[in-house]
């Protein structure tokens, strides 16, 4: 009953994909175990350069695990085993001799809860540069202003850069963390539920920011909020129980998903 007679109804919905420039990250048949527990099952997925890719799925589906694999944050967890490859700009990120610190510099990360360092706004943003050994005040000032502007926070904090970052509101703190994450111009921005601790206005500001940063950066965002995934992303990957169920352009996934499980999840019929 689902086969459409070709002669009468045809697909007119074409989804032009603006701003895509090939894949920057290739996840190839990637599996992961936490001890005996397999958390990811043979995920194959290409992240397109300059676009926003959303990872969605119910709790425990492996979306955050997958995100943390991209910059090898899971290396820090005991008993993790992996199989398969993640290729970033043509390089296998698990290849022997890979500089993990360098890898993480090229992939900025923003977490669920804003995590500013207990220091001034200024010092927070230029922290990654200082770690890199940049000492010149004028260079630091330039990066701080550029990053805060890019994170849409400049106007709100420009007169109090020396104040403690902890005095900012939750939404401002999260934008500060984004400013810090983009301060040394990473190629990819990984966001793990960046709005889940924020109110709707602060959420809207982050979403607007994601929109503005797309193109300059490749963004991978994990979100529980499906409307958010629909609003901010170009591509959406739906995961369930450690498997990639469906991956496609966001408009298709949210209007005419190919797989019934995706349909059940995004329409609120799951479980």
């Amino acid at each position: 009953m689902n086969a459409m007679p070709e002669t009468s109804f045809q697909n007119t919905a074409q989804h032009p994909r603006a701003g895509g420039h090939g894949t920057v990250l290739e996840i190839q048949d990637f599996s992961l175990w936490y001890g005996a527990q397999q958390a990811l099952h043979g995920i194959t997925l290409g992240i397109e350069r300059g676009l926003v890719t959303a990872l969605i799925g119910p709790s425990g589906c492996g979306k955050s695990t997958l995100l943390r694999c991209l910059n090898r944050m899971n290396d820090l967890v005991d008993g993790v085993r992996i199989r398969g490859r993640i290729v970033f700009d043509g390089q296998d990120i698990h290849a022997p001799g890979t500089d993990v610190i360098e890898l993480r510099k090229r992939m900025g990360m923003v977490f669920q809860k804003p995590n500013p360092f207990p220091m001034s706004i200024f010092d927070n943003v230029c922290y990654p540069l200082r770690v890199d050994g940049v000492r010149k005040r004028s260079a630091l000032e330039e990066v701080v202003e550029r990053s805060l502007r890019a994170a849409a926070l400049w106007d709100e904090v420009k007169d109090r850069l020396e104040d403690s970052a902890l005095a900012l509101s939750g939404g401002q703190q999260q934008r500060l963390c984004i400013a810090r994450a983009i301060a040394n111009e990473p190629e990819v921005l990984l966001m793990d539920e960046p709005c889940s601790a924020l109110d709707p206005i602060a959420t809207a500001k982050i979403e607007e920011l994601i929109d503005r940063l797309a193109g300059r950066f490749t963004i991978v965002i994990v979100t529980h909020n499906m409307q958010q995934a629909a609003r901010v992303s170009h591509n959406t990957a739906f995961m369930y129980l450690g498997r990639l169920i469906e991956y496609g352009d966001t408009e298709t996934v949210f209007t005419v998903p190919r797989v019934e499980q995706t349909q059940e999840y995004i329409t609120g019929r799951f479980g």
Partner: protein, 240 residues
């Protein structure tokens, strides 16, 4: 088969919406049948009743409108649910229009009854039956979400168009032969046109069923068999 929504009131909202669209479909179908009854046996009280009862269809359509707005605002529907809701909104408009056309047929039947000379055009009841079957068929396709049946309705619009063209030709001939039949002839033409348009609305609903099931819009030209313009050119007086 999809499972039910986790939020039961959402499930109920959607079920009620579907039920209202089906009910509006039944009412439109009944109105058409009764309007055609007025064409064959025009009794004043019957005609008046069809016209009066059209208000119920209008009311139901407004109710569906309000429900759709509320569900969109409160539930942020996605995928098949979103299509279900958009289709309900559009189908309700089609059905309400069918009701208007049926009511107009009843009105014209009453007017015909008062005229002294009505051309004996025989094809109307047949056309009415054909259009009625078509409407019923598309409503069943809608309730079953049956793509094949909807596509079948969509493809077979040309028969109705051909029958309409035949009535047009016949009525025009009577009016040319005897100008006293013109008033009645015009009513007959409008009734035939209304029926043909109800057929078109059924086609639109068939397209909506396709959209609902597949998420795709119908494309390409609809099969057409309405040659009434050519007929009027051939039969009517030329300018030279």
């Amino acid at each position: 088969m999809l499972h039910e929504h986790t939020v039961k009131t959402y499930e109920e909202d959607l079920r009620n919406l579907k039920a209202k669209v089906q009910q509006l479909g039944r009412l439109a179908s009944e109105q058409l049948e009764r309007a055609m009854g007025c064409v064959t046996r025009p009794r004043e009280e019957d005609c008046a009743r069809v016209v009066r009862d059209d208000a119920e269809l209008d009311r139901l359509e407004r109710e569906i409108d309000a429900d759709v707005l509320r569900i969109l605002a409160l539930r942020q529907p996605m995928a098949v649910d979103l299509r279900e809701i958009v289709a309900a909104l559009r189908i309700a408009v089609e059905l309400e229009r069918i009701g208007d056309l049926a009511s107009n047929i009843a009105k014209r039947s009453a007017a015909l009854e008062a005229l002294p000379l009505v051309p004996p055009v025989g094809g109307l009841p047949d056309l009415g039956r054909q259009v009625g079957r078509r409407l019923e068929r598309v409503l069943v396709a809608l309730s079953r979400r049956d793509l094949e049946d909807a596509a079948e309705v969509w493809r077979n619009d040309s028969e109705i168009d051909q029958r309409y063209t035949a009535i047009f030709r016949e009525t025009l001939t009577y009016m040319m032969e005897d100008p006293r039949t013109i008033s009645a002839g015009i009513h007959l033409l409008f009734i035939a046109k209304n029926l043909e348009r109800i057929g078109d609305h059924a086609t639109n609903i068939a397209e909506m069923v396709g959209f609902l099931v597949t998420g795709r819009e119908a494309t390409g030209d609809r099969p057409k068999g309405d040659d009434s313009i050519e007929v009027s050119r051939a039969l009517g007086p030329s300018r030279s």
